[in-house]
Symmetry: C2
Subunit: 163 residues, 2 copies
Amino acid sequence: MQRDEPVKTPLSIQEQPELVLIELLFYAYRDFVSDPDVVLAKFQFGRAHHRVVHFVNRHPGMRVADLLDILKITKQSLGRVLKQLIDTGYIEQVPGPVDRRQRLLYPTAKGRALDQRLTEPQAQRIRAALAPLGPEGRIAAERFLRLMIDPAERDKVTQMIEH
Amino acid sequence: MQRDEPVKTPLSIQEQPELVLIELLFYAYRDFVSDPDVVLAKFQFGRAHHRVVHFVNRHPGMRVADLLDILKITKQSLGRVLKQLIDTGYIEQVPGPVDRRQRLLYPTAKGRALDQRLTEPQAQRIRAALAPLGPEGRIAAERFLRLMIDPAERDKVTQMIEH
DNA sequence: AAATTTATGTCAGTCATATTGACATATTTG
DNA sequence: CAAATATGTCAATATGACTGACATAAATTT
């Protein structure tokens, strides 16, 4: 079986201009999500814990199902991470007052503090990125990112962010 | 041991305005990276394979060390994924002509075609997002994302993207 | 009231992707 | 020739995800 000829010409941005944004998204997100790692390591937590703590702090009293819908993972995947956060006192479950099947998720004071520590370096990075851009730069960035979200999710996400 | 009081007030965008971009980045990236999953599943590959195929197509003849520096993972993590791509004929290794310790990475025609199929839905999403924004919108988005990259990496990344 | 659906949790097994640490080989450089 | 470099590999482990099956309690529907 003969060896295939290696392709020596790069895929260029001339033939595919969207590559610029595709790669900028990769590099920007790579560095953006690495910010909280230092803090997480101190608590023996991973990025999955960060996401859970964050959204529970943003939406206290949310249901488990709501969290799954945001994270787009299965309940089995969420299970372990959520349990650890509850066992170590960062998140609490309260039975739903109307529908008692629900276990509404709330951060504790400790959970709130953790989220703030995790968010801080990311907020810092964003402030630094926005500084040279002016207010229109911020608006344009928000507009672009909002349009990158699935159309079917867009309104729901906009509402969750603004709430 | 008394139960901690659950915190009932949400972390609000009023006290932390950067939350808007923090969350938009999460949601946008979540949907953006899910695009190629359909294609990847047909080939029994995962997102790690996508990243490797992509950067080798963008930088044919790159060294393994260059790839590790982009992905920010260890060579052990890369190992299995790269081996699978080589064994199935999407990527080839060619000994460096000058420094024969190097194994320069090239896509095959098959590897080039795969990358193009994977990139297509992402490019599509970006075109759709840019459409309502006009050329300044694109420039603003690129500028913001570039500033989100670690300052120490920024020039290198800019050069790699433009090359 | 009984049957069904919903919200949640759990058990078991598996897979994909990542890690650290140690060691091996070939080759280049000082 | 010694040291440094580029790469690969072995082993053990962690993390985060999956499918599928089953269990419980509570709400809703019939």
